[in-house]
Every structure is written in C-alpha cells, then in structure tokens.
Symmetry: C2
C-alpha cells in the first residue's frame, strides 16, 4: 500500500463496478475475475482497482458484495452529500434537473436558475447569496455559449469549486475551480470517427 499509485482511469471504472454490483440481484460474493468477465475488463486491472479501495478481499472467495460496495462508496465519496445548482433551464437543463440518477451518488441539484422566475427557477439576482448561504459546491452551466462565461464568473464569486459546463466554450476560471466540459456534438463525432475507422479496417482485411 506504500507507493499505491492511483491511475486517473480508476475513477472512471469504480463507478462501473459500483453500478454493476448495485444492480446485481445476487447477494453472493464477487471476485475480480467475475467482475472482469462481466464488464469485459482485464482481470489484473480489476484486481488492482479493487485493492485500491478495499482490503477485505479473501483469496479463493473474493469480496463480500455489500462490503465492496461500501468501500467503493466511501472511496468515491458517494456518502458525502453534494449540493449543485444549475443555471439555464432549457431542454438540456430541464432534463438534468429532472434526472433521478444523481441521487445514488449523493448528488442533488437543489435549485435551478434562469432569466425568468418560474415555479422551478429563481432569477440570477439571488444566485450569489443563495449559493453562499446554501454552501453550494458544484455549478452546472446549461446556458448558451454567449452567456456561459458570465455565469461562470458569477459562480466564481461563490463557494463553488467545480463546474460542469455544457456550453461549447472554454471557460476562464481561477485555479481553485475545476471545470469539466461536456460537448455532446464532439462526443458523438468521436464515436462516429471510431465507427468509420472500424468499417475501413474491416474492408482492408
């Protein structure tokens, strides 16, 4: 455990294990080889990933399902509640605001903001004070690209430390804020490029 070098990619896989386990009807023990086979990953990789978060694996029998889930949960911080606000209640914003799936990971979008005040939204006037008094840590930007930086700047004046940005702009933020850009169009275009490459390769065989 001394030089336990965590690779970045582990963070992408732990939620996959967690979701797999959560949906697994059986309560039986699970092992790295079982997970590897089910999720089509390398056996050693899974073994190493699990070793990073848990030390309750037993040779021959593997891990107790509930213990392993608890250890992943703890490592990933799913048990720490995280409050997020969303700005821009358009189609995409609404879809996210309504989405039930965040709960499982301890995440709640507690309030949506937009230009207009509605049953669902507050206006931006109250944004800063709301975020400060409610100790909001995460901001979700689903406004158009013209307003994204402006919203981002406002977020930076609160206690928000992470921004999930759906506007196709690169945001300027202070060092202590981390930004994750999500771009639906480029994501799909990458999938399509992979598809075309694969088709090409098959033709050339």
């Amino acid at each position: 455990m001394l030089q336990n070098t965590r690779t970045e990619a582990v963070l992408e896989r732990l939620p996959i294990y967690y979701e797999y386990l959560r949906k697994l009807p059986s309560e039986e023990n699970v092992s790295a080889p079982i997970l590897a086979k089910a999720l089509n990953l390398g056996e050693v990789q899974v073994r190493k990933d699990l070793a990073l978060v848990s030390h309750k694996g037993k040779p021959k029998t593997g891990y107790e399902k509930s213990e392993l889930m608890a250890d992943i949960k703890n490592y990933m911080g799913y048990d720490q509640k995280t409050k997020a606000v969303l700005v821009g209640l358009g189609k995409l914003g609404s879809a996210l605001y309504d989405y039930e799936g965040f709960q499982e990971f301890g995440i709640e979008i507690v309030q949506a903001f937009d230009r207009e005040q509605t049953r669902l939204t507050k206006t931006m006037d109250s944004f800063t004070s709301y975020c400060i008094t409610e100790h909001i840590e995460v901001g979700i930007i689903t406004v158009d690209e013209v307003h994204a930086q402006e919203v981002c700047d406002l977020m930076a004046t609160t206690g928000i430390r992470a921004i999930w940005n759906f506007a196709p702009v690169r945001l300027n933020v202070p060092d202590y804020i981390i930004v994750q850009n999500v771009n639906m169009a480029t994501s799909l275009s990458i999938l399509i490029k992979h598809m075309r490459d694969q088709i090409e390769n098959q033709v050339n065989l």
Copy 2:
C-alpha cells in the same frame, strides 16, 4: 509519416482545435504554440496532433487557418454526412433531438422513435424498415434502462454500426457494432471526486 502512431487521445483533441478555430474571429495564420497556449495544452502535443492531419504547416508562419480546419474536417470525417436515429423522446431525448450543434460535424438526427406516435415521433413498428431504407448508421438510445437492451437488439437488426447509449446499462452487441455509454450521474460524480481530492490536497499543504 511512416510509423505515424496515432494515439487514441488525439481524437478527443482534434474537435477542440476545430471548434477553437471555427470560433476564432481572426483569419490570420495559426501555429501550434498559439493553439497550445490558448487551449492550455502542450506545445509538442499540438504540433504532433496537427502533423497527423495536415502537412501544410510552414516553419515560422504556421498553418493557414482555413486549410487547417479543412484538414481536420477531412480527417475527422465532418464532411461525410452521418444519419442517426433516436429512440426514447423523453426529456433527454428531446434535448438531443432539438440540439443544433450536431450539424457542424455532419451529423443529423433524422428521426425520433417512441412508443406513441406524435408529430415528432414514429412508433417502433416502422423502426427496422426505416433504418434500412434510410441507411441509418448511428442509433441513440435514450429510453429507460429496462428497455435499452430491447432497443439495442432491434438496432442490431438494421445497418446501424454505432450506438450512443444514455441508459445506465451495459448493452450486449455483436462485434461489429461499437457502443459508447454516456452516464451523466457517474460523470458528475467523477468531477466531484476530483474536486474533493483537490480540496484535500490544498488543506494538506
């Protein structure tokens, strides 16, 4: 150019360059150092990425903006039109169906399907024949996790070669179909984990 080993990650960066260039008001030449600085990437990395798609760079002056864009466009296949269908016109499905941003990358969601027939949707009865006659290559799954595999199986009976899956299930597909899973909840949870790690590190300094 002989052993021009393309790294997987290039595909993630080329769209970023492309979008940056597209939105750049100036028509002046661009160089790897300029792009690197603007996008906060390594200079050598950008240089190598550009060399992969273009051979029109000139020492001292860099690349002509429009030529470089054309070369990225060509490499990534943005000039090849790709038709996609979407199944599940809920909140998220609607948001994607309405989204204008795909166009830029040659992608069009040409039809949505759902249980009910509406002004916007066809029912699944016509799904297979529609996809075949329209030569659909990409399927987008935005149904709930209970129905995702079923929809996926149906897609596999058509000419669809790539599936963009928003349902939180791992789909079983034949080898020649590639699947990209998108999970909003786990994506956000990873961002939050990064945030917590960063906060932790700052405290420990």
